[in-house]
Amino acid sequence: MEINLNKKPEEPSLYTVKAVFILDNDGNRLLSKYYDPELYPSMKEQKNFERNVFNKTHKADNEIAFLEGMTIVYKGNIDLFFYVVGSAQENELMLMSVLNCLFDSLSQILRKNVERRCLLDNMEGVFLVVDEIIDGGVILESDPQQVLQKVSYRVRLIIYSQLPVISDLFESFQN
């Protein structure tokens, strides 16, 4: 596969992002969304692609890679890896702005605890953030403040997950 620089630019459209995914430090999928139905239609192909991307990127924090004919921008933090995928012709900086917005929004939602456990504890917030940033491959928002406003998600207390006793109490009150 060549880096196809000769191909004419595609039809101008709003569809910018091909896929977005978050992996943990073993390369397991925590969240992933594919927006182009022609790109890796089956779950097996998607996971293969994620595995391949993870293997090529997790060792060095290089920010950008070109794999399987796709431009991939990424960012690692503690035990999480965030990826945004676009076509070979896509403006790399556009993809970067999506990645930065995703990371910054999550960082604020998780009160700077961008690590696996905290992310999983607030998974619904993560789903909502991704949904507000990209829908169907179209960039909806690139400003983290706007995203937070639209999601208006309250973080689940960290204490809740770390201290099961209190959370148990909390639970029994509710019931």
Binding site: R29, A60, I64, L120, F127, I139, P164, Q174
Partner: protein, 885 residues
């Protein structure tokens, strides 16, 4: 339930995944609490999260269970918890395709869409669009209309509609089928979008522009207007700017607008935008424009140069990747950046380093090659296959530029060949080595040795067969052919059927060319005849018998130079032959030749990706013509179509009637097909005929008119001409052409013609028949053998002086295009600094006679040419010599 989770977490440590041991059935069981009253938002939220998480992990939900969960979920709309509501929207979107009857949430969604809560509107519309299909469009049309009429929601609708998954089809359907709604609505949408495009919200602006373009993209005038408006007024959103640049460069490309166009000025002005994203988009747009001059590139290159030293890896990558692209066409434009690129060689991002080095290889001088190659070999194992292919491509380009460097390159390539890598990568290397071998005869032996080593352990059948073919072609002509035999025979013993068969063919070529090897080859061949595969056995038996005859002519015809006929044509002819029982043996000469003989291993390195699709045996242009002509009764009995020329224009581009001619050659006839187009909308032409006046030896037999030629609908008429049998001047002819027809004036609006018309005629340009029209190119991989095969019975020789030609290259080019024959043995390439050259040409003359030309060229004041022609037919030799004279 949550309690249970936390316990589990405790057991496996705080780093574990609370969703890890989720069971679909347990989660669905839990989902029953959706039906409890009052709704517990927190627990429900958690369960919805689990469902979405499972779906995201690829868990399969059956239709029944999905539908059940979906219906339970709809109850949650009763709760007013914001996050819960938002998760409901997400669930709807995720389940839209797996659950049945998702449309039941339509009313809930439309309520949120038009409700007071601002945060619900956008996501609700997006969810609604996801579950909308054509059948229910009518149902929601009311809400959409309402949203459009109502200022605020319409605004949101506009912004969010493009985001929805099916907005394109939604728009399409609106426009296509709902005529009563469409004109009105689309117009209103355009207005709304235009208003939104000047919005202060930068994302709204971006989406509105995208929607506007989508609504109008088929209307070039509207797009131009839109561009004018926005390029003047300016935009706030960098995304919208990028979009605008893309639209502008697409329009420039389509209209072939010059670079003095205001659109180009706009793109160039974006190079000074304060946002890097926009600057880069503009620079990239300029670089990708066809026919950009170095001066126009300069500003784009200088912003890219600045980006090269950016702290952001993505920006450096983008810049160097684009510079790499510039270096392919305009290496000199990039030289200014050499210093910046040098700094990137050690970039920790290997993709950037690779791109920098390959760019430098294109722009740098010969002296820097060794250093760069050393640098790149230090980390080649770390980079991905994609970039390894880029490196190979750069090397291949370099070998053509600096042929003297081939030994360094060959070494490097052979090391790369030993490394791990996928098929595309290996293929790029093999292609590169093959092209080096062909460019530099002195590198042949080392190159073949590397390839031999490679096939010893090669898992790719395609590559192994390709290399075996090459060995068969080149090996016998090396000083020591015997050393290749072992490599080839090893393949016969160890490999799959396809490779074994290719190895047998290669062996046969050694036997045919080298008499001292023949006995051993025959022994090996005998072993191959006991192979377990049919194809391998058949080939071995066939070659065995041919080789045992020890006849040069047989070897040439059946071992060196394969079939030159078109395979679909052969299939068709054989089928035809079996349909009509006849005593006559099948005649190969009646089979049409392959129209595009493969150029002799001129490995185009560049488009590796394009050949990814399996090659289809699409009918060639000639096959299509053959079908068309065969359908006309008057042309039956002419035999198979021998050759069709490229269309020749017989009128200027902008005239009343546009006529072009395709010359079809048959064994003894020519058919001239005139494709005529009438560009006058107030005329209908009838009985259109092109009358031809050839000089003496050609005889016009028949005209077939085009019955009717309405405005702008092309039609064809034909003229059949008989060619003289044995007239040496038959090769060339010039014919006057006149188009004759009956004109009927008609109403430009309705196309209704008047009752009567009048005869008229229109003089066309003269049509030339050249000797190339009678000859089809055929590649003889082994020209020497073919030359012996034809023999010297009708050999003729003549010497000409080409006074007007100054270089050997020019002479070679002229001869090839004049005779329309295939250059063999790469003799179309004249080595540098030589005063003499021999050109070998091969072809087939109409009627199926092989014809070979050997032209010895010598450069003095002009070029002197001694032409030797051989063919099985005397007239053919005469025709060719007469036409050259």
């Amino acid at each position: 339930m949550i309690k249970k989770f936390d316990k589990k977490d405790e057991e496996s440590g705080s780093g574990s995944n609370p969703f890890q041991h989720l069971e679909k059935s347990a989660v669905l069981q839990e989902a029953r609490i959706f039906n409890e009253t009052p709704i517990n938002p927190r627990r429900c939220l958690h369960i919805l999260t689990k469902i979405i998480y499972l779906l995201n992990q690829g868990e399969h939900f059956g239709t029944t269970e999905a539908t059940e969960a979906f219906f339970a979920m709809t109850r949650l709309f009763q709760s007013n918890d914001q996050t819960l509501r938002r998760m409901c929207y997400l669930t709807i979107k995720e389940m839209a395709n797996i659950s049945e009857d998702v449309i039941i949430v339509t009313s809930s969604l439309t309520k949120d869409m038009t409700g007071k809560e601002d945060v619900y509107r956008g996501p609700a519309i997006r969810a609604l669009c996801r579950i909308t299909d054509t059948t229910m469009l009518q149902a929601i049309e009311r809400y959409m209309k309402q949203a459009i009429v109502d200022k605020v929601p319409s605004f949101i609708l506009l912004v969010y509609c493009p985001m929805s998954h099916c907005w394109q089809s939604f728009l399409f359907i609106c426009i296509q089928h709902m005529v009563k709604m469409s004109y009105d609505v689309v117009k209103r949408w355009v207005n709304e979008a235009q208003e939104a495009a000047s919005s202060d919200n930068i994302m709204v602006q971006y989406h509105a522009l995208g929607l506007l373009y989508h609504l109008r993209k088929n209307d070039r005038l509207a797009v131009t207007k839109m561009l004018n408006k926005f390029t003047k007024s300016g935009l706030k959103s960098p995304f919208a700017y990028c979009m605008l640049i893309r639209i502008a460069s697409k329009l420039l490309d389509e209209t072939e607008g010059g670079h003095d166009s205001p659109l180009f000025d706009f793109i160039e002005s974006c190079l000074r935008n304060k946002n890097e994203m926009v600057v880069y988009e503009a620079a990239s747009a300029i670089v990708h424009m066809p026919n950009c001059t170095a001066r126009e590139l300069a500003p784009a290159v200088s912003v890219l140069q600045l980006f090269c030293s950016s702290p952001k890896a993505a920006l450096r990558y983008a810049a160097v990747r684009t510079l790499n692209k510039v270096a392919m066409k305009h290496p000199s434009a990039v030289t200014a950046c050499n210093l910046d690129l040098e700094n990137l060689i050690t970039d920790s991002n290997r993709s950037i380093a690779t791109l920098a080095i390959t760019t430098l290889l294109k722009t740098g001088s010969e002296s820097s090659v060794d250093r760069l190659m050393k640098q790149i070999s230090s980390f080649v194992s770390e980079i991905s296959d994609e970039f390894k292919v880029v490196v190979v491509q750069a090397i291949s380009a370099l070998c053509q530029k600096y042929p003297r460097k081939h030994s360094v390159m060959m070494n490097f390539l052979s090391n790369m060949l030993r490394d791990d890598g996928g098929f595309e990568y290996k293929r790029a290397i093999v292609d590169c080595i093959i092209s080096i071998i062909e460019e530099n005869p002195e590198s042949k032996e080392t190159g073949l040795a590397h390839l031999c080593e490679f096939i010893e352990d090669c898992e790719h059948t395609v590559l192994a067969t390709k290399i075996l073919h090459l060995l068969g072609k080149e090996g016998p002509r090396t000083p020591q052919p015997s050393k290749y035999i072992r490599f080839i025979f090893n393949r016969v013993v160890l490999e799959s059927e396809a490779v074994r068969a290719a190895a047998v063919s290669a062996l046969a070529k050694f036997g045919a060319q080298n008499d001292d090897l023949l006995p051993s080859v025959l022994v090996l061949m005998q072993r191959c005849m006991m192979d377990s595969d049919d194809e391998v056995r058949d080939r071995a038996t066939f070659y065995m018998n041919v080789l045992q005859q020890k006849q040069k002519a047989l070897n040439a015809a059946y071992i060196f130079n394969g079939l030159s006929v078109s395979i679909p044509g052969l299939e068709k002819s054989l089928h035809q032959y079996t349909l009509e029982p006849t005593e006559k043996p099948f005649d190969m000469k009646t089979v049409p030749l392959a129209t595009t003989p493969i150029t002799e291993q001129k490995t185009e390195i560049a488009p590796v990706a394009t050949s990814k699709l399996p090659e289809k045996l699409a009918p060639s242009r000639q096959d299509i013509y053959q079908e068309q002509l065969a359908a006309i009764p008057d042309f039956q009995g002419l035999g198979p179509l021998f050759k069709s020329s490229e269309p020749v224009q017989l009128t200027e581009a902008e005239t009343e009637y546009v006529v072009r001619c395709v010359k079809h050659t048959f064994a003894r006839h020519m058919v001239f097909q005139f494709d005529c187009t009438n560009t006058l909308n107030d005329q209908l032409l009838q009985k259109v005929v092109v009358q031809m006046e050839p000089s003496e030896s050609y005889e016009v037999i028949h005209h077939i008119p085009a019955p009717s030629l309405p405005y702008s609908q092309p039609g064809s008429c034909y003229t059949l001409v008989r060619l003289p049998d044995d007239d040496p001047t038959a090769g060339r002819n010039t014919m006057g052409c006149t188009m004759k027809y009956l004109v009927r004036d008609c109403d430009p609006n309705t196309g209704e013609p008047d009752d009567d018309g009048y005869d008229d005629e229109y003089v066309l340009e003269d049509l030339e028949v050249t000797v190339a029209d009678h000859i089809q190119k055929v590649l003889k991989p082994n020209f020497g053998a073919a030359w012996e095969e034809v023999g010297d019975e009708f050999e003729k020789e003549e010497t000409f002086a080409l006074a007007s030609v100054r270089t050997l290259d020019e002479a070679v080019g002229n001869i090839i295009s004049f005779l329309g024959m295939q250059p063999c043995e790469r003799s179309d390439k004249v080595p540098e600094n030589k005063n003499s050259h021999v050109l070998f040409l091969a072809g087939v003359f109409r009627g199926g006679h092989d014809v070979l030309v050997r032209a010895r060229l010598a450069l003095a004041d002009g070029v002197t040419m001694q032409v030797t022609v051989r063919s099985g037919e005397e007239t053919v030799v005469d025709v060719i010599l007469a036409s050259v004279g």
